[in-house]
Symmetry: C2
Subunit: 209 residues, 2 copies
DNA sequence: GTCTATATCATGATAGAC
DNA sequence: GTCTATCATGATATAGAC
C-alpha cells in the first residue's frame, strides 16, 4: 500500500510481521503468490457481494431495467462496507487495491482481469439495459473512466492529503469519499453524447486556434 | 511507461538507447534525476501552455467568469496537442505521465506536486468563478476525481480495457479518447450536490439492508 | 514447520584508464 | 566525455539443521 509491489521487499514484510524471511516462500511459494493471496482473500468476497446485490436488484425489478443509480450503488456498497470494517482491512485494503489497479506488473494486470472479468460483464449488461440510448462503445468507455476515478480515489495518494485539508475535524473516511464520488460518476455516466456536449464545441473552437 | 520507474533498470534503458551504462550517472547524476529530466522536458511546456490558455480565456471574457466548458477544454487541449505530436513523445509521453501519477515513490509525488501546484490553483480559482453555487470543498473533490479519470485513462492499462471489450485499435487514438472523456468530466463537474443526487438516496436505502 | 545460512543474481553507482 | 571493470548492496529463493 505504501510503496507498491515492486518496491516492497520480503525482508521488510517479514520483519514487520515478526516472522522469518523464509516463511513466505514456504507458505506461499513466491512473493507474487503471497500478493495474490492477500488480494484474493478480500477481493473475492467483495466481488461476490457485488454480483449478489445486482442479482437481487434484477429480481426485484421483475423484467424492467434496474435504474442507473441502483446499479452504481450496488457496485459501490460492497467496497463501502469493506471500508467500514477494520477487521477486514478497512480502508487500508482499498488503498492497496487502488495501487494494484495502477501497477504495471503483468502478473497483477492478469490477476485483476481474471478477478474482475465476470463482475464487469454483468454490470455492463445491466447498465446497457438502464441506458438503452447509450451506444455500447460509449458505455464501455464510461465504465473505464469510472474505474479510473474510483481506483485513483481509493489509492488515495493525494486523497488523504485532501481529506486532511478539507475535513480537518472529520476522520479521513472512505464513506464520505464514496458519497461524494457517486454523484460525480452518475452524472458522467448519464452525460450527453460527445456530439451533443457543450464541451465538444469548445474543443473544436480552441483546436482551431 | 511499460514497467514503472522502480522496475526499469538503468541497464535496460542504456542498452535500449545504445549508450553506456555510466552515461546516466555522468550526465544526470542519478536514476531519479534522469526521470525528472525526462518528465520536465515535456511537462513544463505543457503546463505553461495551460496557464497561457487560461489567461487568454480570462482576458477575452473581460470581467465575466469563463464557462466551465472552456476552462475544462483549456486544461485538456495542451495534452491533446502533445498526444498528436510524435516528435514530442506523443501518446507515449502521456502514458508515461499517467503512470507517474500512480507511482507511490515519494520523490515522484513531490516532483509532481511541485510541477502542478500552480496550474491546479489557477484552474481551481477559475472553476470556482464559473460554478459559484458549488462549495469550495466539493469543487476540490471533483477536481481530484477529474485528475484520477484523466491519469488512469492516459496511463492506458490494457488489461482492464480488454475486459470492457474496447477496441485496442481505437484506444491508440488519444484524441478520440479525450473527446469522449471531456463530456464525462464536464457532467461530473456540474453534477448535483451529493445531498441532491439520486444516487445518495439509493446508497442510504441499500446500506440500510 | 521454523529457523539459519547461503546461493545466485541484478541493481545503482563509481573509479580510473583512455 | 566515454568506456571497462568493479564495488557494495539488496533482491528472491533455497538447502539443510533442528
Amino acid at each position: 500500500m505504501e510503496h507498491g509491489f515492486e518496491a516492497t521487499s520480503l525482508r521488510a514484510l517479514t520483519t514487520a510481521a515478526g516472522v522469518n524471511l523464509a516463511a513466505v516462500n514456504y507458505h506461499f511459494g513466491s512473493k507474487e503468490e503471497l500478493f495474490q493471496a492477500v488480494l484474493t482473500r478480500r477481493l473475492d468476497p467483495m466481488n461476490q457481494a457485488r454480483l449478489e446485490l445486482l442479482t437481487r436488484l434484477e429480481a426485484n425489478a421483475a423484467r424492467r431495467p434496474v435504474s442507473c443509480e441502483s446499479i452504481l450503488t450496488a457496485l459501490l456498497i460492497p467496497a463501502l462496507k469493506l471500508a467500514r470494517d477494520p477487521q477486514r482491512g478497512g480502508k487500508d485494503f482499498l488503498r492497496l487495491l487502488g495501487r494494484a489497479y495502477a501497477d504495471p506488473a503483468p502478473f497483477i494486470r492478469r490477476f485483476l482481469s481474471e478477478q474482475y472479468g465476470l463482475v464487469i460483464a454483468r454490470y455492463k449488461a445491466a447498465f446497457a439495459r438502464a441506458l438503452p440510448h447509450l451506444p455500447r462503445k460509449e458505455l464501455s468507455w464510461r465504465l473505464h473512466f469510472i474505474m479510473g476515478a474510483l481506483s485513483y480515489t481509493l489509492a488515495g495518494t493525494d486523497a488523504l492529503k485532501l481529506i486532511a485539508e478539507l475535513n480537518p475535524h472529520e476522520t479521513a473516511n472512505d464513506e464520505i469519499l464514496l458519497r461524494r464520488l457517486a454523484p460525480f460518476l452518475l452524472a458522467g455516466l448519464t452525460a450527453p453524447l460527445p456530439a451533443m456536449s457543450a464541451v465538444s464545441q469548445a474543443l473544436d473552437d480552441q483546436l482551431a486556434l
